[in-house]
């Protein structure tokens, strides 16, 4: 039997001709990312290791490492300012050139920079110090989130252990209805398989829906595979992928595709022709309803931000709903990267948001992880384009967050209640 794309990338990275689920391999890493939360955590690990007599003299390859300032930017207080300062000194010392600093040209949320800047390429094995590293699997790469110790080990040695995951294949077919976005599809899937439905496993997406889907929408799918517990989400590269990368990088890459006789542990088929806009209720992404069943639920805030829901197409869709209207609740729009912010300005989207009464803020993970810049008060109810709604995720532990597509969130901002975009006048 052949191998699927996840297995083939891990086989290549571990210099094996064949791998199968449950094999443990030591794989060479093509790219590594740290940010202003995981970076200082990794530096702390190096300090502890140095106390044990294991010193980091140089990185395995500074060219393969990149750094994002995204979680607590602009620096939210003295502690986060010190973290960012520490990271700058560290990247200088270890000669990391690809350090995207805020207020100094292109910067943004790491999982948005990874595609905007063409940093992660088809066939690569990429690890990041953040759970939503899975996002980059939409580029046809194997992208996996790791913690501080594992990332420190990779930075020092260029390799790490992996267990070959089983792969679940999701075949998506049918004509995508108007007002349905990738966010609705992935919420539907998580609602069905649960937050541990793909634990330790790979989630691979294919079918005619994927073939027609834009790069940014594909990234929404893979981004939220993390919420199903997946090791990675992945989409085989095609002309959409190559076209997207063409204007963004000159770096060479070797695409990898699944063998025709590849094996999958499970295959799910979804016909999306009848799919309706979906909302995940507090306090889990699996807690889904169709938006119309929740209509009338009063809201305090709408949030359009994060790696999941503030890419250019997300902003275009939100602006399409909000154009010429006024928001009825506090609405915050935070483009996911400086480059997207600029494009949104040039297309007039930022004007639309501001004229509707929303505020438009700088790229940051900010309130998505309850860190700063617009966190929720006790009992406040928010609808958000982000990816998680666990207790306290976006602020006070007694606040509530509903997750939805940018179309649903924008429609709800206009009415002040949960609203299906098909019901907006």
């Amino acid at each position: 039997m052949g191998m699927n794309i996840t297995e083939k990338i891990l086989a290549k990275a571990s210099n094996r001709t064949k791998v199968s689920p449950d094999d443990v391999v030591i794989a060479n890493i093509d790219k590594v990312m740290i940010h202003d939360v995981s970076g200082p955590g990794v530096i702390k690990v190096f300090e502890l290791w140095e106390n044990k007599g294991i010193k980091l003299d140089k990185l395995y390859d500074p060219e393969k490492v990149w750094i994002s300032e995204d979680h607590f930017v602009p620096a939210s207080d003295k502690v986060s300012a010190n973290n960012i300062s520490l990271l700058s000194k560290w990247s200088k010392k270890f000669n990391v050139k690809k350090h995207y600093k805020y207020g100094l040209g292109q910067y943004g949320i790491c999982h948005t920079l990874s595609h905007e800047e063409g940093l992660i390429l088809p066939g690569e094995l990429y690890v990041g110090g953040d759970s939503h590293t899975n996002t980059s699997g939409a580029m046809g790469a194997l992208a996996v989130g790791l913690g501080h110790t594992d990332i420190a080990y990779v930075l020092m040695n260029g390799k790490i252990w992996f267990k070959i995951p089983e792969t679940i294949l999701f075949k998506l077919s049918g004509k995508k209805p108007d007002y349905i976005m990738a966010k609705d599809i992935i919420l539907k899937i998580i609602g069905e398989i649960g937050t541990d439905g793909a634990n330790y496993k790979a989630m691979q997406f294919s079918g005619d829906v994927i073939e027609k889907m834009s790069m940014e929408e594909r990234l929404t799918l893979t981004n939220m595979t993390t919420e199903a517990g997946a090791k990675n989400g992945i989409i085989e590269p095609d002309n959409t992928t190559y076209g997207y990368l063409k204007s963004r990088t000159n770096e060479k890459y070797t695409p990898v595709y699944s063998d025709v006789d590849a094996e999958y542990s499970e295959i799910y088929s979804y016909e999306i022709g009848d799919l309706e806009p979906i909302v995940a209720k507090p306090f889990s992404p699996k807690n889904i309803s169709v938006a119309r069943e929740l209509q009338g639920i009063e809201l305090d805030k709408a949030y359009i931000g994060s790696c999941t829901g503030a890419k250019l197409e997300d902003l275009r869709n939100a602006a399409k709903i909000m154009k010429g209207k006024k928001v009825k609740i506090r609405t915050e729009v935070l483009p996911a990267a400086q480059s997207i912010f600029l494009k949104a300005m040039k297309e007039g989207l930022v004007n639309t948001f501001l004229e509707a009464g929303a505020i438009v803020g700088p790229p940051t993970c900010g309130a998505c992880c309850g860190a700063h810049m617009g966190v929720l008060a006790k009992d406040e109810v928010c609808i958000s384009t982000t990816n998680r709604n666990f207790p306290g995720r976006m602020g006070h532990v007694e606040s509530k967050t509903y997750l939805a597509s940018p179309l649903v969130v924008a429609s709800s901002a206009i009415s002040g209640k949960i609203t299906d975009p098909r019901d907006v006048d």
Binding site: V24, S38, K159, F390
Partner: protein, 167 residues
């Protein structure tokens, strides 16, 4: 591997996520002792006054789902937890706990979670993959660690372990 003894602190809840284990605002903190003070704050604000050094946490499935923050096993370790017993763990939490050498993620069947009571005294024998409940005078089986995990656990974390020799 040595035999571990300790008392149980039980949360019979599934999908305990990293946002409640160590809430987002503390992600900027990297001092391990300080993180320990905020362990489980999003679920039980009184956790740090209840927990004792060497306790075992017993919980529902998919413990540690959510983010990759290594702050989560660090905070639990600093608060005194030496092992977590659950039917399953989220993958990054599991890796972080083992590779960082902070605490042991031990997989047990769902019905054993139901049998073990809060404050029971347990004896965990990783050589024989057994738990003896000294309070209830019962014995349970645990799911053995895979070979590689067992070696990393014995070494006390990834840094003390020669990964190259495994390939």
């Amino acid at each position: 591997m040595k035999i571990l003894t300790g008392k149980v602190i039980k949360y019979d809840i599934e999908n305990i996520d990293t946002d409640v284990i160590i809430p987002g605002p503390y992600l900027k903190i990297h001092d391990h002792k300080e993180l320990g003070k905020h362990s489980m704050e999003g679920l039980d604000p009184n956790f740090s006054s209840k927990v004792n050094k060497g306790d075992f946490m017993v919980t529902g499935k998919n413990f540690g789902c959510g983010s990759s923050r290594e702050h989560a096993p660090i905070a639990l370790h600093e608060s005194g937890i030496q092992a977590i017993l659950a039917p399953s763990f989220a993958r990054i939490f599991y890796r972080n706990a083992v590779d960082g050498g902070y605490l042991l993620p031990i997989e047990i069947e769902q019905d054993i979670v139901k049998k073990i009571e809060d404050r029971d005294e347990l004896e965990i024998n990783l050589n024989e993959n057994k738990i003896f409940n000294k309070t209830q005078k019962e014995e349970y089986l645990i799911k053995p660690f895979p070979e590689l995990i067992s070696k990393i656990v014995s070494a006390g974390g990834l840094i003390n372990f020669k990964i190259e020799e495994q390939n």
